[in-house]
């Protein structure tokens, strides 16, 4: 048994704002990450995926608060660390790539200097060491020669180049864990494959554990080892990527996997209607009894509205929360 890199136990996170009831975006989630694996987190907008990512790094926005649980990284509960202890972890041992590098990069600072800043903060390198490492890093993500790009400002770069800079910044200190929140959804088609190939290469070369978040199941095919599916703040299914695609168990997973039919160009008559999940994800402020997917579920049974489904280990490496599998 390999020792887990990160273990999330019973984590709940809620946002409160004045005058409205708190929204529980992450609801009693448990999850373990092994060294060197790629985990895909799949769900619609508002399913709590991004909050889960931010809560691992303790980067919750104002109003967000931990209600329960712990996040144990290399034996230490991150939720119990002081801010200064946490700074030693963030950027160095784990880092994040956000959806929109145009927002995460400093617009008035040359991109080389932004990466160097991370190196200086964590690696204790001399100026010469920083320069050498910067050059090596930029080359490794495909900027060759690297000197020209280092002196550019973010606005002078294309969307794809900016995302590669954000990735460079995230991997600068060779962290054990990188969390990427929708790393390709702002990019056009050709660039998506390019960025996924780069992330795969980083994992292969450094054994980095990757957590990749997306609403689009197709990016996980041939990329993620394992997938978790989130709905309304909960994990409704977890399994190997291949099994999730071959035989989705939860009706929500099945519906999401069906959405990937949109990529079957040429096989489907044009103007054919798309398979859809009707309705909208629920608000997160009210938690009535029953399965949260029940109102939208094509397979619902009388029990679903009345009782919360419990998590079932359906097969090895497979868990699902649905009464269809409740023996």
């Amino acid at each position: 048994m390999v020792e887990e890199l990160l273990k999330i136990r019973d984590l709940s996170v809620a946002y409160s704002s004045m005058g409205s009831p708190p929204l529980r975006a992450v609801d009693h989630i448990s999850l373990a990450l092994n060294p060197g694996e790629v985990i895909g987190v799949l769900g619609e907008s508002g399913s709590g995926k991004s909050t889960l990512a931010l809560s691992i790094l303790r980067l919750l926005a104002a109003g967000g608060r931990y209600e329960s649980g712990e996040v144990v990284f290399r034996g230490r509960n991150l939720l119990a660390l002081s801010e200064s202890e946490l700074r030693e972890v963030r950027g160095k041992e784990m880092s994040m790539i956000s959806q929109d590098p145009a927002l995460s990069l400093n617009p008035v600072m040359r991109v080389g200097a932004q990466i160097a800043e991370v190196l200086r903060a964590h690696m204790g390198l001399s100026q010469r060491g920083v320069n050498a490492r910067l050059e090596e890093l930029l080359r490794s993500v495909g900027f060759d020669p690297p000197s020209q790009i280092a002196t550019a400002y973010p606005h002078q770069l294309s969307g794809g180049q900016r995302q590669r800079i954000a990735i460079t910044q995230a991997i600068a200190c060779n962290p054990a864990l990188v969390i990427a929140d929708e790393p390709t959804s702002k990019l056009d088609a050709g660039l998506q494959s390019e960025i996924l190939a780069l992330l795969t290469e980083i994992r292969r070369r450094h054994g980095t554990t990757l957590v990749v978040i997306s609403h689009d199941p197709t990016i996980f095919a041939g990329f993620a080892d394992r997938m978790i599916v989130m709905y309304a703040g909960r994990i409704v299914e977890e399994g190997k990527t291949r099994d999730i695609f071959r035989a989705p168990m939860h009706p929500y997973t099945r519906a999401l996997v069906q959405l990937s039919q949109r990529y079957f160009v040429g096989n489907v008559a044009s103007r054919a209607r798309f398979p859809i999940i009707s309705g909208e994800p629920p608000g997160l402020s009210r938690h009535d009894a029953g399965c949260r997917f029940e109102p939208r579920c094509p397979d619902r049974m009388p029990v679903c509205a009345a009782t919360d489904p419990q998590e079932v280990i359906a097969e090895p490496h497979r868990r699902v929360s649905c009464f269809k599998y409740d023996s």
Binding site: A189, L256, S270, R273
Partner: protein, 282 residues
Amino acid sequence: MTANPGVAGPPAPRLRVCGLSKNYARRTGIGRKSLSIAAVHDVSFEIQTGKTFALVGRSGSGKSTVARCVARLESPDAGQIFFGGTDIAPLGGRDLRSFRTEIQMIFQDAVTSMNPRFSAEQVIEEPMLIQGLLSKNDRRNRIMDLMREVGLPLERIDGLATNFSGGQQQRLAIARALSVRPKLLVLDEALSALDLSSEAQIVNLLLDLQQVYSLGYLFISHDLSLVARLADEVAVISAGQIVEQGLTAQVIANPTHPQTVELLAPARSFQRSYSEMLGAAE
């Protein structure tokens, strides 16, 4: 849902774009002369009544400029845009304003195209007010009909548009566009900001509305696999020029330009991984 109206003989295209070109001026420095950059060069295509034409390209290829010219948010520098029988390229002033009931535009980021203090009702009503259409009462009825049609809950009619979800905001944008009963919708990356689930819902809505109103769609996107499901004809644009154009099924089955092949890459790569996964034995 009505059936397609029977068509006798080749109908005149609802929209015909001929040799459209547009340059942007770019200042090279303070007080210096400005430089002319060709954004779009010699673009031509037609859209028949009730049909979808898709213009596909990467960021910066010029596809949005074409969209903005057709919707006459920009004036083309050369070429004609025939709508019905009229060249709308040179229109201005009052003629242009009354023409705006014919072509409406849907943007990628719906909410930034709406007044953040407007309720859903005010958002949908605005184009009718500008055009001076209908009485207050009739407008209210049309707004409710439109909300029902695009699948928005009527109890949210007084809700702020900014509080709607991304998919609902795009529904609202569609309702607003339809309020003046246009014949053509220009959809500029209208689905790109949505998650896959909302995208599928909006696609089906657009297919339904096209049937009901015989709407023409000019669909602008970077996503050729999505377009393949929607468009009757497709053109691939690169560096401001169309590099491949034809019936969608033929372009997809037999892409000839490298740019087309590249735009199909994510779909091809998913199909490959998917069949590998299905084929993999336990």
